[in-house]
């Protein structure tokens, strides 16, 4: 079982350069692992692929909840794109990270030459890759099945800002939960928040259909800010996107600051 010659440490000249790979290549390796693990967990694929797709198709065919004035797909696609961001950057990221923390995976990685910033970057990078695939799938289905086209007043820059700020806000919230709660607590909280954002986030049900106090609450939540910004950016609604983007930016700043300060690696 032993093979002493190959156990030799790297040459012992002094001072030593060390054997750590460059941070970028470690990070890319970790990003690949994050994506492989995401694809391997069936429960992830349900919440990030199946659920948004089913909601999009079902409520486009059965427009029970959407406003009568618009075509259902014009209302639904921006909302479901917001839900896709939530499913990946909040639900999937928080649950996976919380269990990795409880299994000591984060601790073990912390003792390797992969920098902590590299691990965070790999996780965010994997979230962005998955989200881009979600956008491609959902927009593709909307175009193919329902003939969706962006509205005349749309602005791709608003969509991109909403996408990035929304990811920041929900990933910050997800990492905050994963780094402070027990794994089971994170699992419950992530699913609970997902349901709240689905119902109050302007995803399948317009916020102005809610009773007054719930509508007021919903308007300051990041979910409705994200779906509102997408609706403006995709031309489904007119208006100034800035208030929604500012709400997202504020949530992003708050959650990522708290996550940075409170995250416990073990």
């Amino acid at each position: 079982m032993t093979e002493p010659a190959s156990l030799r440490p790297v040459t012992s000249a002094s001072p030593r350069p060390g054997n750590a790979a460059p941070a970028l290549s470690s990070t890319v390796a970790q990003l690949g692992m994050e994506l492989r693990l995401t694809a391997r967990r069936g429960e992830n694929l349900f919440v990030i692929v199946v659920l948004p797709l089913v909601l999009l198709v079902f409520f486009s065919l059965v427009p029970a909840l959407t406003p009568n004035t618009a075509r259902p797909i014009d209302f639904l696609l921006p909302g479901i794109l917001a839900l896709a961001v939530i499913s990946t950057s909040l639900v999937n990221l928080s649950i996976a990270t919380a269990f990795e923390r409880s299994y000591g995976v984060l601790k073990r990685l912390g003792g390797s030459p992969l920098p902590r910033a590299g691990l965070i970057a790999a996780k965010i990078g994997a979230v962005l890759v998955v989200e881009v695939l979600q956008v491609a799938l959902l927009v593709g289905v909307a175009v193919a099945l329902f003939g969706w086209r962006p509205g005349a007043g749309g602005n791709p820059a608003v969509d991109l800002a909403a996408f990035l700020l929304g990811t920041l806000a929900f990933a910050g919230l997800g990492l905050l939960m994963a780094g402070t709660l027990r794994a089971e607590g994170t699992l419950a909280a992530a699913n609970g928040l997902f349901l709240i954002f689905l119902l109050l986030g302007g995803v399948i049900l317009p916020v102005n259909h809610l009773p007054g106090f719930l509508a007021d609450l919903a308007r300051v939540l990041p979910a409705s800010a994200l779906s509102d910004a997408y609706r403006i950016g995709l031309g489904s609604a007119s208006g100034d996107p800035l208030p929604s983007l500012l709400i997202l930016a504020a949530w992003g700043a708050l959650t990522s600051l708290l996550a940075t300060r409170l995250f416990r690696w073990e």
């Binding site: 002493p4 156990l7 030593r16 970790q30 000591g104």
Partner: protein
């Protein structure tokens, strides 16, 4: 960087280390240094502060007091560069349950400029057959061997191994000890913790016995054993009741009678074996018509010394 007597720089240096949890001292003033190229074992019972000590050396915790240096650097502050020179084996694997051994070694290999070959390493630690099996269904010993492989992957100058043989069957333990010995022979400094005397007897060059966060003895295995006085162990036909126990203790003059693992089995604690002491014990039993079923004076062994120092029942494999 400090130098040891031989002029070689110390690979690990710990001075005046203290760590408390909730006001309770877990590490209570440890000072030791590990010369480059040796296997240094921290031996002690569970809860003695071994894991806390190595986790400070691994950079996971900061000391409350004192200073630690690994390869001359403070592990809590040194970054990826030091982690590229130190190989770690943690007590709880810390591997993704859905990942496979080959996949994990290939991932970690990409964190190093010049890693060992993951496939050769799998072969060496005896995991080639389960290279594509999910981590969560590996046996405890297989998980340990994967942990060992991860520690060796980056050709470390210093390997810190927390209980490397725990949970392994005897064959895997022997193979692991052989592998750690080969690692040392190739120039890596090894610092390991264990509560198994067999580990230190068979591979450690230097041993520090710790108990309740303090070093109670240090040296090579033979130096430590030489410091142990012979002691009396005996088995009676029946267990002593409390009055008899105190009566016997009084008759022996000092020391105390300790239970030794089974009813009726005792150990004379705090008194060295002597002809007079044996006669007193035998006379006391004869006066009460008590048969001594077995009587033995144990010689100077590392086990005796360890038991005397820690009050722990040693765990042999």
């Amino acid at each position: 960087m400090t130098a040891t007597a031989g002029g070689m720089p110390a690979a690990v240096r710990v001075s005046g280390l203290r760590k408390r949890y909730g006001g309770r001292p877990v590490v209570d003033g440890l000072t030791f240094s590990v010369a480059a190229g040796v296997i240094f074992a921290i031996l002690g019972p569970n809860g003695a502060g071994k894991t806390t000590t190595v986790e400070i050396l691994e950079g996971y915790r900061r000391p409350d007091e004192g200073e630690v240096r690994v390869l001359g650097l403070d592990p809590a502050r040194a970054g990826a560069e030091l982690r590229g020179r130190v190989g770690l084996m943690l007590q709880d694997g810390g591997i993704y349950p859905q990942a496979r051994p080959r996949e994990i070694l290939r991932l970690y290999a990409r964190f190093y400029r010049d890693p060992r070959d993951p496939d050769a390493l799998l072969e060496q630690v005896g995991l080639a057959d389960v290279a594509a099996t999910r981590y969560k269904v590996l046996s405890g010993g297989q998980k340990q061997r994967l942990g060992l492989a991860l520690a060796l992957l980056g050709r470390p100058e210093v390997a810190i191994l927390d209980e490397p043989t725990a949970g392994m069957d005897p064959a895997a333990k022997a193979a692991t000890r052989e592998m750690i010995g080969a690692l040392r022979n190739a120039g890596t400094t090894v610092l390991l913790t264990t509560h198994e005397l067999a580990d230190v007897e068979r591979m450690a060059d230097r041993i520090a016995i710790i108990d309740r966060g303090r070093i109670v003895a240090a040296g090579s295995a033979s130096e430590l054993a030489a410091g142990a006085a012979p002691r009396i162990r005996f088995q009676l036909e029946r267990a002593l009741d409390d009055p008899d126990r105190s009566g016997l203790t009084a008759a022996l003059g000092a020391g105390s009678i300790r239970d030794d693992g089974a009813p009726g089995r005792y150990l004379v604690d705090g008194l060295d074996s002597s002809p007079a002491l044996l006669a007193t014990l035998a006379g006391w039993c004869a006066a009460r018509g008590l048969l001594i079923a077995e009587l033995r004076t144990t010689g100077a062994t590392l086990e005796e010394r360890y038991l005397a120092l820690t009050g722990d029942e040693a765990q042999h494999d």
